[in-house]
Symmetry: C2
Subunit: 318 residues, 2 copies
Amino acid sequence: MISIGVDIGGTSIKGASINEQGQIMARFSLPLIAQETGDQTIARLGRKILSFISEKKMQKKEILGLGIGCPGAINSEKGIVDYSNNLKWNDVPLQEILEKVTGLKVKVTNDANAAALGEACFGAGKEASSIILLTLGTGVGGGIIINGQVYQGNQGKGAELGHTVIEIDGRPCTCGRQGCLEAYASATALISDTKEAMKKHPDSLMWKLVNDDITKVNGKTPFDAKIKGDIYASEIINHYIKYLGEGILNFCNIFRPEAIILSGGIAQQGKDLLNPLIDYCEKRNYGFKKTPKVKITTAQLGYDAGVLGAASLFFHNQ
Amino acid sequence: MISIGVDIGGTSIKGASINEQGQIMARFSLPLIAQETGDQTIARLGRKILSFISEKKMQKKEILGLGIGCPGAINSEKGIVDYSNNLKWNDVPLQEILEKVTGLKVKVTNDANAAALGEACFGAGKEASSIILLTLGTGVGGGIIINGQVYQGNQGKGAELGHTVIEIDGRPCTCGRQGCLEAYASATALISDTKEAMKKHPDSLMWKLVNDDITKVNGKTPFDAKIKGDIYASEIINHYIKYLGEGILNFCNIFRPEAIILSGGIAQQGKDLLNPLIDYCEKRNYGFKKTPKVKITTAQLGYDAGVLGAASLFFHNQ
């Protein structure tokens, strides 16, 4: 049996047919069109899926269903996209439209949940039964897998791990709270901290790395400069590691999962991120003796985590 | 069918036979004896249970098992009390000893998990499938019920909700971290804040309430003084509500449970605690539109939550 996984991104929609072993059989993609409404885009996606099924000569009866990962606030119980800032969608009855157009069973979840499920089933978490995924990108997204199943919370509104306050009265967050993990550990926050440090320190090596053009700063800049010995970059990374580390230790104490998996732009720094982070967390592990270690690692599936996880909404008794 | 629930406390052990409707059929208790080792206490508990069964003319075949709630760090998978500061126990193979002495099936969990399960099955959370329980006592304990089941984390070391940092570099916590919720929201923290404020403000009404004896301050003192119009008490309560509220909002965003239930000494303040707390949380609910409300309430079962929850380890497909 196979399942079709769909990952709705900021500029395009990617999909794939996937078997229960997590092998991608065939792929498709379609662009997002700015003028379209959400309902129109979803109807177009449905028609694309039908033509994909017919092109690839798949039998509908061998397709378990259609799993969708979508950014934004999703009501996974009703299959509705309540709203998505990135897509500018409001109240899109995604499941209803897609089921009508394709005749297939449809399940929808938040994109971070889908990525978490993908990594849990086929990636960095496949040996574990309970994992936490943190995406370190524009924001800090979260996915919770408990006993192999996505935990979504009431009406799909849980797992907002980036919106947990780690500093009372701290930095304003886009969500309206102050001091959220996202305001310190997102790529956005790291880039903003980097720019601020550069402005304070015209002698920082980081200026050279971006050819004196501060608009070229990205999440890699401070990591690269730290390796080259720039003390200002070291300070930025230490600060970043401290806040991310405290957030991770919180999730260790709350869930004591087998693994915490990092994905998104910043996770691409690999061991330059992991080594100091693991060091920070292991030195400060919760006071309990005999507390089982939580593996901290980076995602393995790259951009395929989304489609694999979305497809997995129909595998493994989800 | 019935189950026997046991709640190991700081000075005594309470037990009860309980049916699947949560009715307590009969009770027993036995004192803790300071000179005993953990192994000796558990063996004595086992013998007490055998005599309880025979006194009450129960048939062993109608007893599903023996559920135990125990303070401290519990390895629920192996049924071992890794250590308990209160009881001064280390590596007590509780499950093994009790099964040997009684011939019954035994399950063991942390006391806060047991209380959470009790409230979820028969108390303030019985209409909900996913709840979070916070005990506001000497420390801040946590219990997580997901889809009606206790979530314990790897080797029973999860749900340490009090040991989540909400203020980086904040107050030192007994666990070794700094800025944990426990360091602000426990009864211990509230009492310490109250005493500090009293020392600063000899004109506070709180002095009168304790007959000028600061050692008589308890968690009720600032609540009582606030009602009587003492501004220093109001400040203490506002600070307490803010930190507890931010912690609760974190758990709302992480779990989006149906209810968050407060128990322990401070929860006995009832609406004097709940009214300002709910007000604080509702004004600051996470930015999502359409986010389902989380009911914030106090526990209903009082001291029986522990035995009811421990017994429930054998009910409802735990």
